[in-house]
């Protein structure tokens, strides 16, 4: 069985993505194959200024700053997506159908995804696993440096969990709210003292 494969019960998505992503629900397990584009803070800012260098319709954007050596992906795990909370709307407006990253995103992004796109969680720290299922096929904005450039990657069945669906469902928020309730019960806190 290939690395990360969970026995084939997961739905396999292929880029370019279409309306099939609208059927997904937070908590679903999927795999994703096809072309994906890495982008972190600097790449988002550059794309807002100069335009998106790839066809965004049905595209998947991966929050990742890989280690690349001699034109080869050494490791390529997800970075914290929340840093891109305020930099994401133009991508969804342009037709991007999936964001891939770790840790989830803010409520503004949950609203932007509604009816249009999904957020897919890749296990944080799993940089060797991710790279084993990826092949580097190009790069934009290489002058931004290794971590911040837009790398074009061919992915082969990346194992993902739907973190935020296109209906406002947000697994991360549900878990956070439950944790808050548990915390207040255990430490007998009457009113909210946690920011």
């Amino acid at each position: 069985m290939p690395p990360g494969d969970r026995g084939g019960e997961a739905l396999n998505l292929k880029t370019p993505l279409g309306d099939e992503v609208l059927d997904l629900r937070a908590g679903d397990t999927v795999t994703l194959s096809g072309t994906i584009y890495t982008a972190r803070d600097e790449a988002h800012l550059r794309m807002m200024e100069e335009g998106i260098p790839f066809d965004p319709e049905g595209a998947a954007v991966y929050h990742c700053g890989p280690v690349v050596q001699d034109g080869r992906l050494v490791v390529a795990g997800p970075t914290t997506s929340a840093r891109m909370n305020r930099l994401t709307e133009f991508l969804i407006d342009a037709g991007v159908h999936a964001l891939i990253g770790k840790g989830g995103m803010g409520q503004e992004v949950v609203e932007q995804l509604r009816g249009r796109a999904v957020y897919l969680a890749l296990t944080g720290g799993c940089a060797a696993l991710a790279a084993a299922r990826m092949r580097l096929s190009g790069v934009y904005f290489e002058d931004l440096g290794m971590a911040e450039a837009v790398w074009v990657i061919e992915a082969d069945r990346l194992p993902l969990t739907v973190g935020i669906d296109a209906h406002g469902g947000d697994l991360f928020r549900a878990v956070r709210e439950k944790a808050k309730t548990q915390f207040h019960q255990r430490f007998n806190i009457k009113q909210d003292t946690v920011s």
């Binding site: 690395p3 990360g4 969970r6 908590g27 397990t29 990742c64 700053g65 890989p66 280690v67 050596q69 050494v74 490791v75 390529a76 795990g77 970075t79 914290t80 929340a82 770790k102 840790g103 989830g104 969680a121 296990t123 944080g124 720290g125 799993c126 940089a127 060797a128 696993l129 790279a131 084993a132 440096g145 290794m146 971590a147 194992p159 969990t161 973190g163 697994l171 991360f172 549900a174 878990v175 956070r176 439950k178 944790a179 808050k180 548990q182 915390f183 255990r186 430490f187 946690v194 920011s195």
Partner: protein, 278 residues
């Protein structure tokens, strides 16, 4: 003129630092791996089981391919034990820096160290006061590295509690993880420093991350239970496993204060110790 003895120490320490970093970045310590395996076997949540399965798969692949476990290869935190016959000299610090520079090129590591204000990258993982090097006396000449990623370091906290608040330490520790959620890549290991001064508590919390994770005393187990009751789970997606272990180090403190520091460590608790050859 450089003392020839210093040149020898510098070269030997650079070699040992590079080797320790290679081991730490590619292979998790056996106690941490065993804790992850136990957690995966005990986890009841289906998504959490998948996440833990991916983590174990990733660790195996990093070993097979001899690549770093995570692309955030961290910043090196370095601990040296110094036997009586090795002089305390600048060569110790330069040897470590040289080892870090070499490891950055050869493993390779992501260049992570920047100027704090201009954000200019030095491209070799060294900088002013970086890496941090801590020297203590010992019987053997060893170097220990703890490469520390930013996701977990960024959610670490220190609290200057009042002497009357000792019973609130579990709440402070659990609150740290409540605020952190999935950001530090749980399941985490928490290093807790209690006592000392503001700075000593933080240093103790980091040193606690060097302790084996497979045993906890009653107090550590109580803290760990309080964190796991939150149900944050691997990556903040929910589940039984939020913390693999909590380790505590203590120091005496002022009668009027109670410093408590929590250093959050992601599941990739990377550490390795290498003897410096002389």
């Amino acid at each position: 003129m450089v003392n020839p003895a210093d040149t020898t120490v510098l070269g030997a320490l650079a070699d040992a630092t590079e080797r320790a970093l290679r081991e730490a970045e590619i292979q998790l310590p056996p106690d941490v791996l065993a804790a992850l395996q136990r957690a995966a076997a005990a986890e009841r949540d289906a998504i959490a089981r998948q996440e833990l399965g991916n983590i174990l798969e990733n660790i195996a692949l990093a070993g097979e391919r001899q690549v770093p476990i995570c692309q955030d290869t961290g910043v090196p935190v370095v601990y040296i034990t110094l036997p009586p016959d090795v002089p305390f000299s600048p060569a110790l610090f330069e040897g470590v820096r040289e080892g870090v520079r070499r490891a950055t090129a050869t493993i390779p590591l992501r260049p992570n160290v920047v100027d704090p204000l201009t954000r200019k990258n030095t491209n070799d993982n060294t900088g002013a006061g970086m890496p941090a090097v801590h020297v203590t006396p010992g019987d053997r000449f060893t170097v220990t590295v703890l490469p520390k990623g930013a996701g977990s370091e960024n959610v670490s906290r220190i609290g200057m509690l009042l002497p009357s608040q000792a019973a609130e330490i579990p709440r402070f520790v659990a609150e740290t993880m409540l605020l952190a959620g999935g950001k530090p890549c749980p399941p985490v290991i928490l290093g807790v420093g209690i006592g000392g001064t503001f700075d000593v508590a933080a240093a103790l919390a980091k040193e606690a991350l060097l302790l084996p994770v497979d045993t906890m005393d009653n107090f550590e187990a109580e803290l760990c239970d309080a964190v796991n009751a939150l149900g944050i789970g691997p990556m903040g997606l929910g589940g039984d496993t939020t913390a693999l272990s909590v380790k505590v180090k203590r120091a005496g403190c002022h009668t009027a204060s109670l410093p408590v520091a929590v250093n959050v460590q992601c599941w990739a608790c990377r550490r390795a110790t290498v003897e410096v050859k002389r």
